[in-house]
């Protein structure tokens, strides 16, 4: 029997597992996919939000204010790349200037450090590519960028190194409760027993809560479409460039990524199902038009991929992080839309407080290791470092992904270290192999071979992203 079963291996579930793995507890994470970070955690803006946007006195405001520095600290422990590049919100004309000043005042109320209001000209000195129609900006110097799936993988890896278990391909079908013990059964008939459930199921968290007997909230899935541009465009802007937020979200942004690409998006359309991550011609056109409004020189011929992610909103607009009023020992961590990634550490800590208050005993683990080993990204080393590294491990001398400079050694490490990559896209998220401008055209067959060699899975059964997504249909 587990002390805590976390349902959902997104950034929230993974970070909660990591923060809980500090204590002597038996923890598991139940993930319906073949890998973690498969929902909104792999398809969002990757922004560390400054914290001026949430309405004062909300949970979002409170956790954002403390969450930024918590995230920077944890990302460092986990060796997950994070960068404080600052953000800019642009006003185009008088009406929006009013909204910008409003945001600034909200930021003051939320206790956000490092904000300043700059004229359009001052802003263009910082960001020469900014549109000449921008009249006023709010700059937040505490804001940053982070790779959301790398953070998720690092958090889960560290949790697993500290004893947490990851159970994949476990799609929860029923939850039963008897004598303070939950019995969770998967679609394939596997069962897990736990004293507590932490529901971190993202866009499906209302369904999970309902399975456990609590129908108190309903998730509104909201899709955001993005386009990612080649690294050649990555230095067009240095800040994350926002537009004035609306009800649906924070508007279309233009931002560098920690990996050196340029990201544009997201749109904000309510979709019929949380699994609807299709991109649309219409959505991508909106992204292009609005991104060019802030930064006219974005060259959309440099797009290397487009994608869509589903955010989990709720009608009250705030996070739901609390023990269920109906089902004892069910913790809901739901409606985590923006700034959820920024708050992920703060959310996990807040959730742990709630668990403790409801009786979960937290005994610190003596041998807890807060650090995740450096994943040895070959591309980031100097020639001398590379040479020394190859001499120790020749696998690092064979470059598999030429676009991103990823070596065989990194791919083997991704397939053999926690949480192991067992399909092509999982290798991509851990190593960036296939994430460059050729999008896997060259490296994919090699990646498949390495997965096959390390795991014993035959080539024909290797998938792009889990069950049903086989790349090959057999031998000719």
């Amino acid at each position: 029997m587990y002390d805590v079963a976390i349902i959902g291996g997104g950034v929230i579930g993974s970070m909660l597992a990591r923060q809980l793995s500090k204590y002597s507890l038996k923890i598991c994470v139940l993930e319906k996919e073949n890998d973690i970070a498969m929902g909104a955690s792999k398809a969002n803006s990757g922004i560390v939000h400054g914290g001026f946007d949430p309405e004062p006195n909300t949970l979002k405001a409170r956790l954002n204010t403390v969450g930024v520095e918590k995230l920077f600290a944890v990302a460092k422990e986990l060796n997950a790349p994070i960068k404080r590049n600052g953000s800019i919100v642009c006003a185009f004309g008088e009406d929006e200037e009013h909204a910008i000043k409003e945001l600034y005042n909200r930021g003051i109320k939320n206790n956000i450090p490092g904000m300043e209001l700059l004229s359009g000209d001052e802003a263009r000195k910082l960001e020469p590519a900014l549109s000449d129609k921008v009249t006023l900006v709010l700059r937040a110097t505490n804001a940053g960028i982070i790779c959301p799936y790398e953070l998720t993988i690092a958090a889960m890896g560290n949790a697993m190194d500290n004893g947490a278990e990851l159970i994949r391909c476990f799609k929860v079908e029923t939850i039963e409760k008897a004598d303070d013990c939950f019995t969770i059964t998967s679609q394939k008939g596997k069962t897990v027993k736990a004293k507590y459930i932490a529901n971190c199921a993202g866009a499906y968290s209302d369904e999970i809560s309902a399975l456990a007997g609590d129908n108190s909230f309903k998730i509104i899935p909201r899709a955001g479409e993005y386009m990612l541009l080649d690294k050649a465009a990555g230095s067009l802007v240095s800040h994350t460039i926002f537009q004035v937020p609306s009800k649906e979200g924070k508007g279309i942004l233009v931002s560098p990524t920690v990996d050196g690409n340029l990201l544009t998006g997201p749109t904000a359309g309510v979709v019929n199902s949380p699994s609807n991550t299709e991109t649309t011609a219409q959505g991508l056109k909106i992204v292009e038009r609005l991104a060019k409004k802030s930064v006219p020189s974005v060259n959309f011929r440099q797009v290397i991929t487009s994608f869509s992610g589903v955010r989990s909103s709720e009608k009250n607009g705030d996070f739901i992080i609390k023990m269920s009023d109906v089902t004892k020992n069910l913790l809901n961590v739901a409606a985590i839309d923006s700034p959820g990634l920024t708050c992920s550490v703060a959310i996990a800590d807040y959730a742990i407080e709630a668990l403790e208050k409801s009786g979960l005993k937290l005994t610190p683990k003596a041998n807890y290791n807060p650090n995740r080993p450096d994943p040895h990204h070959f591309r980031k080393m100097t020639d001398d470092e590379k040479d020394a590294f190859i001499k120790k491990n020749p696998d690092y001398g064979r470059i598999i992904c030429r676009c991103e400079g990823v070596s065989e050694g990194e791919i083997r490490a991704a397939v053999t270290t926690n949480p192991k990559a067992l399909d092509i896209d999982s290798v991509k998220r851990r190593t960036r192999s296939g994430m460059g401008r050729c999008q896997g055209g060259f490296c994919m067959p090699y990646v498949m071979q390495i997965i096959s060699e390390e795991t014993g899975i035959p080539m024909e059964e290797i998938t792009k992203k889990g069950e049903g997504s086989n790349q090959l249909i057999g031998r000719i």
Partner: protein, 115 residues
């Protein structure tokens, strides 16, 4: 009977018209090769078949093969059946006969495979 076809002998790609009746009359060709091509295509179209054969003693390795001479176009599918049912052991040299006498020619290796 009138038939239009595009000559593939050179990149020029002449549009040929072949009329069959008393023999075959070809027009539209810029050179004599075009005439021959059209007549062959109507009377006895030939194709070189290229494919691969599994190398039995090496995992994940295929040796590429071809028909040494072109075979009748309508025999391509049958030739493929024979090729697909074949396995071979390395080492293999370019030109090695992999399958003998397939529609009047041999299937030969087009790649060197060393153990």
């Amino acid at each position: 009977m009138k038939k239009q076809l595009i000559c593939i002998i050179c990149p020029r790609g002449c549009t040929l018209t072949a009329e069959s009746g008393n023999g075959i009359k070809v027009s539209g060709n810029a050179c004599p090769k075009g005439e021959k091509y059209a007549i062959d295509e109507l009377t006895n179209p030939l194709r070189t078949v290229t494919s691969t054969v599994r190398v039995k003693n090496m995992p994940l390795t295929m040796v590429s093969v071809k028909t040494k001479d072109p075979i009748p176009k309508d025999k391509m599918a049958e030739a493929m059946k024979i090729i697909r049912a074949t396995e071979v052991n390395a080492p293999i040299k370019i030109g090695d006969v992999i399958i003998k006498d397939v529609f009047g020619t041999d299937i030969i290796a087009t790649k060197e495979i060393n153990l």
